[in-house]
Symmetry: C2
Subunit: 337 residues, 2 copies
């Protein structure tokens, strides 16, 4: 099976690494959010893309899930001493990537081309595609006004309550070369356990992406999401907090409802089985009919699977990816269990 995964940062990167461990070279394509990309100190910084690449290359800091392992912070120390903004951590090795990417973009190279060449140098066998070569910065509507994503996410530590999301310039953005092909040629699509609002939605919002997914579903392909929420909490990041601020009680089910009829399959944590009355693995369930949802419910029907979805180490990622591959190979799409 060829898998195309849609990913944001840390959770997405870990899930993608699971598939890269399980599938042979050429078997995995990762389409990555670019909504959190920004310019800082004159450099183009692509946090989700870098987290995915560092993770797949085995270079990532295993403690934080982002940035590089065994990183030095000399440049940042000088910036701090000079009174510059130090809220966004830039490690010395990490800076090398930002510098070279900025240089190449200044020469007119596409982000997708640069990413491909970086992956080659680092021996990454999965194909990593930024969803777009066009800048589509995510903005958050908050009680403190409209905030650029990194200001909200890093500088303000996700503290301002959120009331909405904007993907600036998204109507004019085009999918990067290879993105629609990766959706069309995949045997199955996986929505990684990333933030639905600010990691996956900005990918789906690029014109052409959602339509391509809908067509693949109509063609009988499986579209599976992995819950980023366990027991009402996120492993990392503000997804659960955002749901609460938007008036929605966070749970695996509201994530399933969020993607709605884009999905055929949904994987959630075994500890959340109690959410579905009469649950058994592979049950086809329509939360909107049986479960009070605060948002628009599921319009289609989704096959639910459960396992331990918490990825604590590389072995967990591999196991989860392998289990997902079994479900995708065995269970029929759309039918009753």
């Amino acid at each position: 099976l060829k898998i195309t995964a849609i990913a944001g940062g840390v959770g997405g990167a870990r899930m993608a690494d699971g598939f890269a461990q399980v599938l042979s070279s050429g078997g995995v394509t990762v389409i990555v959010n670019v909504g959190d990309d920004f310019d800082h100190f004159g450099l183009r910084i692509c946090p989700d893309l870098d987290t995915v690449c560092y993770t797949l290359a085995g270079l990532v800091n295993p403690q934080t899930g982002w940035g590089r392992a065994e990183e030095n912070w000399e440049a940042m120390g000088v910036i701090r001493k000079l009174g510059g903004p130090d809220w966004f951590n830039l490690g010395d090795s990490d800076l090398g990537l930002h510098l070279e990417r900025t240089r190449r973009m200044g020469e007119g190279q596409r982000l997708s081309t640069i990413t491909q060449e970086v992956c080659k140098v680092w021996g990454i066998t999965a194909a990593v595609l930024p969803v777009s070569d066009d800048p589509v910065p995510t903005w958050l509507e908050t009680e403190e006004g409209l905030l650029p994503f990194q200001e909200y996410f890093v500088r303000l530590r996700c503290e301002p309550p959120v009331s909405g999301f904007r993907f600036a310039g998204v109507d004019q953005a085009r999918p990067a070369p290879g993105v629609l092909d990766a959706i069309n040629s995949a045997d199955a699509i996986v929505f990684c356990p990333s933030n639905p609002w600010v990691s996956i939605d900005p990918v789906l919002a690029i014109p052409g992406v959602k339509d391509a997914l809908v067509i693949q579903k109509e063609n009988g392909k499986r579209l599976l999401a992995v819950s980023p929420i366990i027991g009402g909490q996120t492993v990392k990041g503000p997804a659960a907090k955002m749901y609460r601020e938007l008036g929605i009680s966070p749970s695996a089910l509201v994530v399933a409802a969020h993607y709605g009829d884009l999905l055929t399959d949904f994987v959630f944590d075994s500890s959340d089985r109690y959410l579905i009355p009469g649950y058994k693995p592979g049950i086809v369930f329509c939360p909107s009919a049986t479960h009070k949802l605060d948002q628009s419910g599921l319009e289609g029907e989704i096959r639910f699977w459960d396992t331990d979805i918490l990825m604590k180490d590389r072995a967990d990622r591999r196991r989860l990816a392998a289990e997902i591959m079994v479900w995708l190979e065995e269970g029929p799409a759309g039918g009753k269990a």
Copy 2:
């Protein structure tokens, strides 16, 4: 005495450090060449200015004379691994300065203001002024065509024979705030032992600078140059090579002739005494009248002083600066010895 020094990179920085050691806070102003400033990897890099600041702050690498001591090279290692241009060395700590300067310039801050604040943080008591806040990039006319300064100086290691120099945009450039004041209020002006063609000339070419120096000389102030050439060679850099390529046999005397009637005093190395027939310290000498020069000779008369001008360590810088202070305080300007 208040000294205003005109400086390029390593030699200029070392001479300026000598004066900073000898004179009290507020006694030294250094006007620094910006002709070698350039953009690289999206960052604004000011090599001469940084060499002066690192030297005055005691942060400089004592082996190379530029860059920081105890520097790491993680970012550069990544750039190299990714196949980026690695001909210009960017240390990790050094990058911190380039990043913060680039960020502030992006906000519209002047280079001179940023430099002032950097000097304050690093405890530099001398006033350091870029000669202009406007970009005035030096280009070299060479056998390989017109080359930007750093391409010639670093990437091509000064190898292409030089036939001329251009200071792009110099006619529109203005002296940075404080530059003309520093010339007008100084008790004496010192031309540091820097490259006349590509370190001092680009400073003199900024509209208003040369005129201010001429007026100060007419007012009876001393304008003293320290030779960058000893025994026909430079301590660092391509000045002697450039003289040869321009058809001029390099010596302390041709440097004195280069500055011509801008000078009242010239300091050269004792090993070069043989160049002046009947030399004794303080002799007033007009090379153009008595010595075959390949370029326009000296129009005025210059008082020559000799000592050991090679600055091998901080103590040498202090001694040379102190000797210059004695000559400037004792000897009359313009008169015969």
